[in-house]
Symmetry: D3
Subunit: 137 residues, 6 copies
């Protein structure tokens, strides 16, 4: 049961409808998923979050598929059920095959393991890793 | 201060040296970073962890750079200082530019934000996301 | 399915009933929620946890509503479904409006994002932040 | 050692300087902390993050002090060293006394404890908590 | 709804069946739980994960029950519903009584609380804790 | 730099000294570590936290060593530097050998890995794990 009722398009204010319209146009779909319908109770957060997601997830130095797989990796690390379901769907739509998904999961699992081994053994950062970073590419 | 003293190559058992040799050969380097020198106190964990990392991080359905960027994304989400430093270095070696790093971070930040919005609003998973997954690619 | 069966008032030992009675009296309700009914299998943990919660959540330098909103913020960050549901209800009972809830969520989302940006970029703490803290108020 | 060099005002592009100027004007200070100087390598993230923080942390249904204390609570839950240091300083500037800080920490500690007890005991959400939320205030 | 369909024994490849057979033989059971049936879509991850779990969870310096209780403690800390359910069952099978479970949970709760108090108060590690570790036992 | 100055025994109030005395007597040591000296700024939290730790960590259905190793496991999972250092020291004092520490870490690493695989694959809890728990031992 969500904390606030979902706001459907028919019941939405013009401000919220404008965001819904942009989501559907950007994603080439006629469907709004529950996440946005819940945020719609707070139009400021709805608008800001959508603008940020739209900007961040657009292809740039990384393509859209790589970005969606990173989103899945973070969501699996945080164990957010909703986000794993929605971004696995988005990544598949962007071209993620089952073999790619399996490799994302394998890396996520391994990284979560070695993160704790490094912390638990209190491993100090090697001087080499502290050296000046390379010039901006 | 690490929990156990680092084991250098010169002081390592043949079993540990074999792992060190394979790490250096695989990574085309003559250097072993602290993580492995700490794990070396437990040769079983050292060997198993290295074999897993080697297998998982090799190019497959995803290339090595994408895998390293996912590793950085998970480590930043978990806030593991050692792993952020070492895998950012590894990702750079694999070709990650500063622009790519910036986009990885932007996605990581956004995903961590929306993960909590979805949970905090108790958003229910849309039926569409629960539908049968596509056949294996 | 909980790990242990819920212990209802009618089936509770005098020791557990005394805690249930104090919970109901303190909260001015005649109802015990599942969290306590599960802990009741371990009367020592039940008693200690209730005493701590009672002491900590009582108004002090911070009022009860502020404390409940902080509880919601932590629970959303940890993504604990039970605690988000129960403490959102408690915060509403203490006076949290939907507008306040929306702002709590916005801060929680933002903090989770910048926490990872700060860690991922390995930002060092500014000397100004390391200066001696102010004298006790 | 940060992942990218800090960008000082003197070396900043006009786009970055405009953000720095707005940060200093909004916060009535002549100082930019390291977090923004690191983000400055990615002007898009710098600008978007600052605009979001500015919008979210401004007084609204909640006052600025309450918001800063929630930020500290989230940062302590995530154990982000940089964010704990910077937002504890910000909260103090906004009026947080040592007594208030102590109560924030007590709630944070307790919530982190009961979050795990609820999950570990697999406590099911009470029907009462699933009932329809109150009408928007 | 799992991301990939469960692979039953009857539909499994010889490679997957060999792992299933070893799981059942090692655990003296005729039953495979869903975790492995999902991983079976990626035989490499299935095989590697099972070999690691088998090696790690076998009695060594610690007995099997202690290891299962530590597994429960980590899963409760991470709030992984599946893992809490499956490893609580495994720990019970290995001899964990309700009284032991209650003590595991009490320690998990307390550790999660003090972890945040230590971080939130920015407590520095005592020099005594940084001293050289004892020689290997 | 801690958030509040450490309170030494010589400067402590009688209320704080009483807690310090009990810590030293219980632990058979003449030394107070920084965690308690920081909490001492909030005598209520100091007293409550110490009483809880004392009660929870005393031998019961589990011995003191097992409890300390679980504490280390949780702290490594949360990556709390202070707590890893202090509880690894405490566990060693209680009898943890390097071989035991290595096995704790191996389980912690594995559990953190499979927790994410179970979540990422959205594995559903097996009906067998949902069956009624055994009667109280």
């Amino acid at each position: 049961m969500p904390t606030v009722p979902m706001i459907e398009y028919a019941d939405a204010s013009p401000e919220v409808r404008a965001v819904y319209d942009d989501i559907m146009a950007t994603r080439k779909t006629e469907w709004i998923n529950n996440f946005w319908k819940a945020l719609a109770h707070d139009p400021a957060t709805l608008g800001r979050t959508w603008q940020s997601v739209k900007q961040i997830m657009a292809p740039g130095a990384l393509d859209a598929l790589t970005k969606e797989m990173i989103y899945v990796a973070v969501s699996a690390t945080n164990q957010c059920g909703y986000c794993i379901a929605s971004h696995t769907a988005a990544a598949r739509k962007a071209g993620m095959t089952d073999a790619m998904f399996a490799e994302v999961m394998a890396v996520v699992g391994m990284a979560n393991e070695t993160n704790r081994l490094a912390s638990g053994y209190q491993v100090e950062i090697d001087e080499k890793f502290l050296a000046s970073p390379p010039a901006k590419a």
